[in-house]
């Protein structure tokens, strides 16, 4: 790993000032993706600006039918939060299924969202729940935020401060994980609000996407059986050593059924 200067400022404004004042610098939250990338020299920032010392990025609160979770909250904190469990238990369950306990003790919501790994769990939750990514300067709808593999509209010096999740009537998440990394080979989040159903898929494609055929089938009959005969196309899905595109397409159907059943 190349060496770098390290800063841990106490506010978002100070973090941005530090980032702007140092060449080739990068924000880091829990570091569970960035540190491994730096070890491989796939990232070699001249300076790392840690976001872990910023109180304003922390906290979980209910606001007008939504749950607002600070970007600096770890996966463990989200998974164990009574507020999250009561409002959107599927979201708590999803956070508790990321990586392993030690990764969950360091990794954060904001870090995962900003990294936008195509096999990460959170993107499926954000898209299915119709969440909004809140930064220091604007609000971005989840569907506009995830633009493909590791692609987001974030500016270099932009910091995600929180994510606002509208509380649905019900939601469920099911994934088929890579047994080593626990990243999703295929993961499906289903969220229902009355007749409006959103189905978001992670891990199977080059970025999170909505399975509109499933959404239409579930809008009329919200049951796992309603998905009989519906499928997603293998075109454009990822094919690698874990699974072929065709197998991923199959898994998306199975995970979608399980997610619907998990909605209760």
């Amino acid at each position: 790993m190349e060496d770098f200067a390290f800063h841990r400022p106490g506010s978002v404004a100070e973090a941005q000032e530090t980032l702007r004042g140092t060449e080739d610098s990068k924000f880091m939250a829990g570091g569970q993706s960035l540190i491994p990338l730096m070890k491989l020299d796939m990232a070699a920032p001249g300076a790392v600006v840690s976001l872990t010392g910023i109180d304003e990025l922390r906290g979980i609160e209910q606001q007008d039918g939504s749950l607002v979770i600070g970007a600096g909250m770890t996966h463990s904190e989200v998974a164990e939060s009574d507020d999250v469990r009561n409002a959107i238990s599927a979201l708590a369950g999803l956070a508790g299924s990321i990586g392993d306990p030690q990764v969950r003790n360091r990794g954060t919501l904001g870090g995962s969202v900003a990294h936008a790994d195509p096999a990460a769990d959170y993107p499926a939750a954000l898209v299915a729940l119709g969440a909004t990514v809140i930064t220091d300067r604007r609000e971005i709808a989840a569907e506009d935020f995830f633009q493909g593999m590791f692609e987001t509209p974030l500016e270099t010096d932009e910091v995600i401060t929180s994510v606002r999740f509208p509380v649905p009537d019900s939601a469920g998440y099911s994934k088929f994980p890579n047994p080593a990394s626990k990243y999703a080979i295929a993961g499906v989040m289903v969220a229902r609000n009355g007749a409006d159903v959103k189905v978001a898929v992670t891990g199977a494609g080059t970025g999170v996407f909505r399975a509109t055929a499933f959404e239409e089938a579930l809008a009329g009959d919200f049951s796992a059986g309603a998905l009989d005969g519906a499928s997603v196309s293998a075109d454009g899905l990822v094919s690698d050593t874990d699974a072929s595109a065709e197998y991923r397409a199959h898994l998306v159907g199975v995970m979608a059924r399980r997610a619907v059943e998990a909605c209760g």
């Binding site: 790993m1 190349e2 060496d3 770098f4 200067a5 390290f6 841990r8 060449e23 570091g31 569970q32 540190i35 491994p36 730096m38 070890k39 001249g46 300076a47 790392v48 840690s50 872990t52 463990s76 164990e80 990586g99 392993d100 306990p101 030690q102 990764v103 003790n105 360091r106 080593a180 990394s181 626990k182």
Partner: protein
């Protein structure tokens, strides 16, 4: 103006990319930072960029004797300067990391890139924390930071500045084994022992959150700890027995 700041004496390798005028000398100047934060010009020197290969990938090695040095080049775009510093042995002045380890205040120097596990093993000499995979898979390096188990191969030492860290050496008190250690002993929860420190620290974190974990919950929790000897059965038994002993 690009500026790179490091402390200490260094051999410095620089690379200029996209240099449209490779024959123009680049002047590098060493600055010294004063107590009030201002920078005072120190010994300057001049070097001519070696080579004429069109601007990519040239480098030179220079030795700084001034410290802490700041490197600047007067050339703005389109010249891009990338600097890598290679510390010379025995003359480093690195950031100091202060933390509490196993109840004792300790401090030591660490580069930005120094991993917490290397700081624990090499700077503090606590070699009970192991490096298995170095890719946050195996969990041999698990320690507690602020009471939560983390993989110390995937955390920087500087991130632990000010933190309270517990390693396997801190589990026993006054020669009496921690209940988790006793349980691993009694249930033969180890063979070669390489994964054991991480297993125990992970297990203690679990019991702190879930006083009476089921076998299934223990197995799920140990997801991030690999054992290549035991098949996990006795490890799971040990964690459950320790939980009972710890008051579950």
């Amino acid at each position: 103006m690009r500026k790179v700041v490091r402390r200490g004496n260094f051999v410095f390798t620089y690379v200029i990319e996209n240099d449209d005028d490779p024959t123009t000398p680049s002047t590098f100047r060493v600055y010294k930072k004063e107590g009030d934060g201002s920078w005072i010009a120190g010994a300057g020197f001049e070097t001519t960029r070696p080579g004429t290969d069109g601007g990519l990938g040239c480098s030179a090695t220079l030795t700084f004797t001034e410290h802490p040095p700041t490197l600047t080049t007067p050339r703005d775009e389109p010249c891009r300067l990338f600097a890598r510093f290679h510390p010379l042995s025995g003359s480093l002045s690195m950031p100091t990391v202060s933390l509490t380890v196993n109840g004792q205040a300790v401090e030591g120097e660490a580069e930005g890139r120094t991993l917490l596990v290397d700081f624990i093993r090499e700077t503090l000499g606590l070699t009970g924390t192991h490096v298995g995979c170095d890719t946050s898979q195996c969990g041999a390096c698990v320690v507690h930071v602020g009471g939560a188990s983390v993989k110390s191969c995937t955390m920087l030492a500087v991130e632990a500045d000010g933190a309270d860290v517990t390693t396997v050496e801190g589990l026993a008190t006054n020669g009496t084994l921690h209940p988790m250690q006793t349980a691993f002993h009694e249930h033969h929860g180890l063979q070669c022992g390489f994964c054991t420190p991480g297993m125990m620290l992970s297990g203690i974190d679990l019991v702190g959150r879930n006083a009476n974990p089921s076998e299934h919950e223990v197995r799920e929790w140990l997801e991030g700890n690999l054992c290549r000897c035991t098949g996990y059965h006795n490890i799971v038994k040990a964690v459950q027995a320790a939980a009972a002993e710890m008051g579950g």
